[in-house]
């Protein structure tokens, strides 16, 4: 399995992601500098968290013009698996690979805390091994996902909502929503199901000593998906 983690100037979770994938899957991902291209042999591309280009102008707005994104878009359109975490999610929105936009958190502050998520579908490459309710950290200032009513209806109809913020029992309450996202949305997938964007950080939850191992399931899901795909 070949995993590529893209490094933009201002990325700051790329090494955490590399370590998490190595720990969970036993394969060391390659770091791809933003001025390079994704190798076509790649199985999974991860756009990591951070503040690419300082998130100046708008989160992800400049990064989407980085040379590497041309190959990421090609890779995604050809059905390759792409996972955008936090800033990576924001970049996927700006690049038009996922619908909607990010607004500042409704509390107007950066928020770093543990949240619960409800996995809305388990038939995706990214979620086939994730539990129904998982616990991951969020750490962002612009995580308030927005999409208009029609767009939301489409997301619902196409089952594109993958993770929702919820309480311990799985209820997607307003209290459990850390940033004001429409419909408690924490992660969405494209229609084809191969491009996932999520604000919470699975790479920060791969060891008991760090507080949770639920994040590991996102990575192991992809590995198991690839295995079955290769077998068939």
């Amino acid at each position: 399995m070949k995993v590529a983690v893209v490094q933009f100037p201002g990325s700051n979770c790329e090494m955490d992601t590399v370590r998490a994938v190595s720990r969970v899957l036993g394969v060391t991902p390659s770091l791809v500098w933003h001025k390079e291209r994704i190798s076509p042999q790649t199985d999974l591309v991860i756009l990591p968290g951070g503040f690419s280009y300082g998130d100046y102008l708008r989160a992800g707005a400049i990064a989407r013009f980085s040379p590497v994104m041309i190959s990421v878009i090609e890779f995604a359109r050809a059905g390759g698996l792409v996972l955008g975490i936090c800033n990576g999610f924001q970049i996927l929105l700006e690049a038009g690979l996922l619908p909607g936009a990010m607004l500042p958190n409704n509390c107007l502050k950066f928020v770093c805390k543990w949240v619960h998520l409800r996995t809305e579908r388990s038939d995706l490459a990214f979620t086939r091994e994730t539990k129904k309710i998982i616990r991951l950290p969020v750490a962002h200032g612009l995580g308030n996902y927005f999409i208009d009513q029609n767009g939301l209806a489409q997301l619902e109809a196409n089952r594109q909502i993958v993770f929702r913020y919820c309480d311990e029992k799985g209820e997607a309450t307003e209290e459990a929503n850390p940033n004001g996202s429409v419909a408690n949305i924490a992660g969405i997938v494209n229609e084809a199901g191969n491009v996932l964007g999520m604000m919470p950080h699975p790479e920060r939850a791969v060891a008991e000593e760090l507080g949770s191992t639920d994040g590991a399931e996102v990575f192991s899901s992809v590995a198991s998906f690839l295995l079955t795909q290769k077998a068939s």
């Binding site: 998490a20 951070g50 928020v111 770093c112 805390k113 750490a139 200032g141």
Partner: protein
Amino acid sequence: MRITPEIVAEHGLSPEEYEKIKEILGRDPTITELGIFSVMWSEHCSYKNSKPLLKTFPTTGPQVLQGPGENAGVVDFDDRFAIAFKIESHNHPSAIEPYQGAATGVGGILRDIFTMGARPIALLDPLRFGDPKNPRTQHLIAGVVAGIADYGNSVGVPTVGGECYFAPCYEGNPLVNVMCIGLVEKEHIVRAVASGVGNLVFYYGNPTGRDGIHGATFASTELTDESEEKRGAVQVGDPFMEKKILEATLELIAQGAVVALQDMGAAGLTCSTAEMAGRGGMGVCIDLDKVPQRAENMTAYEIMLSESQERMLGVCTPEQLPIVESILAKWDLKAYVLGQLDDSGMMKVLHRGEVVACIPAAKISEDSPVYVRKGKRPSYMDNLPDATRAELPPTKDFENIILEFLSSPNVCSKRWIFEQYDYMVQTQTLTGPGNNAAVLKIHDSNNALAVSTDGNSLFCYVDPYEGGKHAVAEAARNVACTGAEPLAITNCLNFGSPLKEDIFFQLAEAVRGIGDACRALGTPVTGGNVSLYNETPESAIWPTPVIGMVGKIAPPARPMKGQFPGPNRVILLVGSACKHLGASEFLRWRTGLAWGPCPPCDLEVEKRVIGFLHELACQRFVASAHDCSLGGLLTTLVECLLWAEDDNLGMEVHLVSKTERDLVAELFGEFTPRVVLSVPEIEVSHVKKLAEEWNLPMQLLGTTTSTGQMVIKSEFTRISLATSLLRSAYESIRSIFPDVSNQLAMH
């Protein structure tokens, strides 16, 4: 330009200091040279009023790889790694422009650390503000916290700890201290000593603008109404540039492409050039026309004194230059070669073809003025109200008092601050903010790191000497409660004007206390920062030394937590009884006054408690340990309960106080060292024996339960409060932000 006495005075230099400058140069200085001396001889850069005191600190030990005098101190960590760490203040800029003042404070300390070759792995932010009910204070808090958050979060360094304390003395003069910890492979430690005649001096990072001119002298004067007009002296931060120069710098070091590095912090190009050449006994010649500039027509004076942020100065051999250029180009940065090192011993500065400064480099720091000030015991110290005679509240209304106390600004949870900080990035955070000390596992090491910042300014106000000792002892105890062996400290000395005898007394006594404690506990001082003139026209701040302590958890020791791990644990208290409520937060909160006397700090006992805790961490069962400090035993017990984040957890505690008065002192007094432990029942006799071996008194307080109730019984009273009720009081921010709904501010 003719230098008049007025110009000299405007530069904060005395007539005697000006004469000394003329003596060093053998002529009148140019205006650029005057500017250079004025920043280099400011308290911030020269420590002219504090140097004789700082010299008394113990600075050596087998664990110290780098003591004071470099960009940061360095201590040994394991076979491969060392820890670089330092604390800085950005008090005055934050008073004027809280967001940028705090942000650039973070930027500056990060550069100090990565300039040593270390990757910054943690930040801590000790903060002090005035009365939170004052709208101005609210503006300062919001700005400072957002400034720290936006900068640290963006660069990707977790903010894992700190403190926040409110007292009226900080009104108009808040304290914003920032500590940074870095991890460095021992063979890659870089020092800011230039060497090699013919080697190149190069500049990279942000271009130079007019921002921050005279920041260092500004930081060394009292704040007045006119300070607002000096807003131009506050710099603007660019965390994205910081991140790029951080990564580029670490690559330069890893590739062996540089001889020396220095960041341009306080006093900018002046300080970095002079210090680098001065330390290496070299000469240097730089041409200011080569300096990238973002403002037009800047004078030599302005370029030399600018404090534009995110700028670095390096030295490399001519052969290394192409490697430097290619590494910097990867990060879209450029190397600007400003000049060369020579053996003249002179710091020579050219601008538009003219020599604008030519100063013996070593003399700037070697011959900087040193003043041995006089101190006098302040009269207030002998007129403090006496806590041994204080009238105490009746214990029958205790439950409401406890809830109110828990929600008071200094006791309540600081979650509303630390949730704005990314405290998990880099995935090393085992214990984050809001605990005894932060604990980080270190990737690729078997050891873990513990770090804490502490300083009880009420103690220091009541008794600067005991307070200085307490600051070190508390930091050491906090680190020891995680199972760590305390290694060394950095300190930030925040005081008023040293020109006043009573303030100088506070400074001298606190330094004496810190030094004594460091010697007793075996934790040398590896560096720090002095921030004087923290005064407004109304008053000086309370003496506020802040200690940053690092410790190491090495196997067989395992990290311990502060919270109770679950029900059916035996709760033990190590340490002796509290005799009175002197210098306690409880009395201050009830009366608005500072009460004497300060609890004594017995360093011999402190040392034994640290040894005991370390041995406890080496045992195979899970123990929790949390020390008693601000807010006393009651606050500690409540925190042990609430940090477990389970409202079904409870405890039943029995106190054997003989009088009602003793009971109040026992619950809220701040005698040290006192540590609350929880251990499995089967281990109690074993732990008791251990305490006996260390000659420490220990008493059995009670047990943890699954009733969701905190019950404290004594002969005089029975306190019973639901854990959920305690939590809503402790997590309330109404006492700080009365207008903001809890829900909103906690998100």
